[in-house]
Subunit: 510 residues, 2 copies
């Protein structure tokens, strides 16, 4: 079919202001002579070639003047990914489906895939050669079963597909939480403690996707987080650690693409979660990894048995790639810390680091526990003294000093740091003891209030499980900037505040 | 979340000239205040509400003047499906994923679905509530296994989801071929024979999707085929039969949506094929159905065993729904008839009906065999006389008369009926006997030449399996209108003409 490239006219690139997310979209006039009849159909997939570059895109046809018949309109994301200038000449052909789709079909039919087949799939996905539905076919086909070898091959291929960091030190520690718990911003306390001690901890984090804040969003309240690989390395050289957004570092880019399909489908298999996390850690050059699995009634893991199954998979993959993996299960029954939303969470973090007496004790204690385990990886430290060392570094102000050093090194973000000025306290409907808090509900309310887009929006929690409340006493405060979002969050909280109040005695006595 | 509908401004519908195929696409200004923060992302899915109507669509954001901040740009297909006027006020909310996706996830995890779950899925798919990747998730999840009950439930739900035809006669016959064989336009001969006899045969056909002609494309050379349900019924009342395009009749619309996802994924499971075909026949009100399964090295079915498995499934579903199903396996090793492409195939059909001595004997014979089986369903006909009756109706000119009556009743199409004027004969590279013909290859060449878009483009076959050819003697002739398509087809035929020539003796003797 190469002859097609010769006999059809080429089209001139034009950039058009359409944000199509991760999808490459190209707009072509229906009067264009560049299209072969078999691709004269909206939403078919086409292959664009310019010089030696190739981009696969979804075709939209137009009848009006948005693009001329001799032009090719590239939506912004496609324009960026193609990297060719306006006016560049492009040939358009029907898409040749990636060869690796044969392996996807084999998987659907129940065959285990080889490492090279998995590697080819990941390579094609990373280079945007798969459509959403093709990615869905791979993920769903893999969801029914994945062998241990396939899991290893997938983790490896995903790690290889992007940036691979190397560090000139024997021990590179990292921590990861599978998420789902409001607040819980332990990384921002653990990193400065561990870095102050002298271990290397180059932490990359994600932004919120369905939650009211990711660690990257919260850190951005304090410092710039969209560092390049070189900038990140520079910060780690100076500070032993960093707290940056993983998006610019391009670790395991296939993972981000898989997640963008898994999420709307609510696909959630253990193997895919493990491959996702471990591929990023392998690519990040971690040697010692602590994984936090919160377990609770509204957490991602509902029972210790689920957590144990997941733990085994992490250990299996870690062992194979020579990474020391330690998995801890933690209490995931309620928020950790008081703030939910970037500014509120950043305030909690800084209060803990500053040894402020009003700082949330649960966030402080959990962070110390996690930091202690990481410090134990230091061969120089006497076994069992990790906790005491972590506490010393926190109480002495060394951790706060290290955090400020990291903040300075990463530079200012320009992010708004003020709290939402529209506030409303959500009162207890009756007196009683807090028996349960619905983490999902609080996350949703904080998001409705505007977090993470409005960094100062969110929820400040006043009451935790076991606390006694009197009728009318505030359970938490909603913060927002936007009137309509504020109204929405307040009325949603009236319908379901997310608290269960019982009559049993409080943890602080009757 | 209903409060969202109140507090966000509504947007005014504007129609924009974008052909996005089966996907609903909406374009909104990034400056619009109608978007909640969680949907500020390109290619997220949104729900549009206007009066009581709801449409799910894929969001594209724009920064320039394509739409104003208070406008909502609906791409053509979305505009048509929404059915609301320009200027209509629309609220935009994030999509609430259809509840039936829970069943899809259960299916992925290996559970058999209930009839009501399958019915909910089909209903949501039919109403464009599923994204492509969600449809892919269902199809791939079902590809690994589907129980007999699931197959019945799927066929039933698909049949219920669109138009359901009823006829005031006890016997309604139909025929269906699973396709893949070039030419093979038997329906256009079988329908007039059976209708001339007096049986009711309301035939709906598809257009070509990957082939150079569907029955609807070929019939359109002779008559209008895009009839509404009422027009189709009118034709059947007058003529006992019709030959119309199924697209306007809206039989099993979910099927068309499933196929649009199965095709790019090359998903091809027996159960899905049977549900697809049987749902359309159930909805069409057929009581007796003849299914033609061509078997051959380049056909959809490669072996009699594959055909038998498929036959059992058709019989199983037919029995359940009270449809008498008869399945015949036929020779799928080469084209049936001489023409490949709408005009060429229509010429073959009319030559057979006119008893033209030069008419292709294989097309005539196969059509008589199929018509004979359908005629045997007539209780008034003495058993075993179907073939003789079919031949009488053909030879007496009654079938031709009936075909002309159907053509008149359906009306003129305005379609081009002339043959492609650019022609090139493809010569035999050496002398020998035709041992095999690659059906896939000839289909692709005819399509490259411009069929079915250019109705007069295609291939006229001169040599069939068993024929002796001398070096340089034409195997077939390529017809085209478009210079570049003609060049492409001619050069592709030079690379691989699709014929295997051997030295064994010809079927017509040495």
């Amino acid at each position: 079919m190469n002859a097609a490239n010769i006999s059809r006219p080429q089209l001139k690139i034009r950039r058009i202001s359409l944000d199509t997310g991760r999808e490459n979209v190209v707009v072509i006039s229906r009067r264009s002579k560049a299209l072969r009849p078999e691709i004269f159909r909206g939403f078919s997939r086409v292959e664009l070639r310019c010089n030696s570059k190739v981009l696969l895109a979804t075709l939209i046809l137009t009848d009006d003047g948005l693009v001329a018949p001799d032009e090719l309109g590239l939506a912004d994301p496609a324009f960026r990914r193609f990297g060719e200038p306006v006016g560049g000449l492009v040939t358009v052909t029907p898409v040749t489906p990636p060869d690796s789709l044969d392996a996807v079909r084999a998987k659907i039919q129940g065959r285990a895939l080889t490492a090279s087949e998995i590697s080819a799939i990941v390579d094609d996905v990373t280079h945007y050669r798969y459509s959403d539905m093709e990615i869905a076919a791979f993920l769903v086909g893999s969801a029914s079963f994945m062998t241990s070898d396939e899991l290893l091959a997938l983790s490896h291929a995903m790690a290889q597909a992007g940036t691979q960091l190397t560090w000139d030190v024997p021990i590179v520690v990292d921590k990861h939480c599978i998420g789902g718990i409001p607040g819980n911003r332990t990384s921002m306390i653990v990193v400065p403690i561990v870095a102050a001690h002298g271990l290397t901890i180059p932490k990359t984090s994600s932004r919120a996707i369905t939650s009211p804040a990711g660690t990257a969003d919260t850190m951005e309240v304090l410092a710039r987080v969209d560092l390049s690989v070189d900038e990140m390395k520079q910060v780690v050289t100076v500070c032993n650690g960093c707290l940056v957004w993983g998006g610019h570092v391009n670790l395991s880019p296939a993972d981000d693409i898989f997640i963008s399909v898994e999420r709307p489908l609510s696909l959630d298999t253990r193997e895919q979660m493990v491959a996702s996390i471990m591929s990023k850690k392998i690519a990040a050059g971690s040697t010692h990894l602590l994984i936090d699995l919160p377990v609770g009634p509204a957490a991602k893991l509902r029972s210790p048995i689920e957590a144990m199954r997941l733990r085994k998979l992490f250990e299996f993959v870690g062992d194979h790639f020579g990474i020391t993996v330690e998995v801890v299960t933690t209490d995931g029954s309620q928020p950790i810390g008081n703030g939910i939303g970037p500014v509120l969470e950043a305030q909690d973090v800084m209060a803990v680091l500053a040894n402020d007496p009003s700082a949330p004790a649960d966030l402080r204690e959990k962070s110390l526990q996690l930091a202690a385990r990481l410090l134990e990886y230091d061969p120089q430290l006497r076994g069992g003294t990790g906790y005491a060392r972590a506490r010393d570094l926190l109480e002495s102000g060394a951790a706060l000093k290290q955090m400020n050093k990291i903040i300075d090194a990463q530079g200012p973000s320009g992010c708004r740091t003020d709290l939402g000025t529209l506030t409303s306290d959500v009162p207890a409907p009756r007196s009683g003891v807090v028996e349960a808090i619905d983490c999902l509900r609080l996350n949703r309310l904080a998001r409705t209030a505007g977090a993470p887009i409005d960094t100062g929006a969110g929820i400040k929690v006043f009451k935790k499980i076991g606390d006694r409340v009197e009728q009318g006493e505030p359970l938490y405060r909603i913060h927002a900037f936007d009137d309509s979002e504020f109204d929405l969050a307040v009325s949603a909280a009236k319908i379901d505040a997310g608290y269960v109040l019982g009559s049993r005695s409080s943890r602080n006595g009757p």
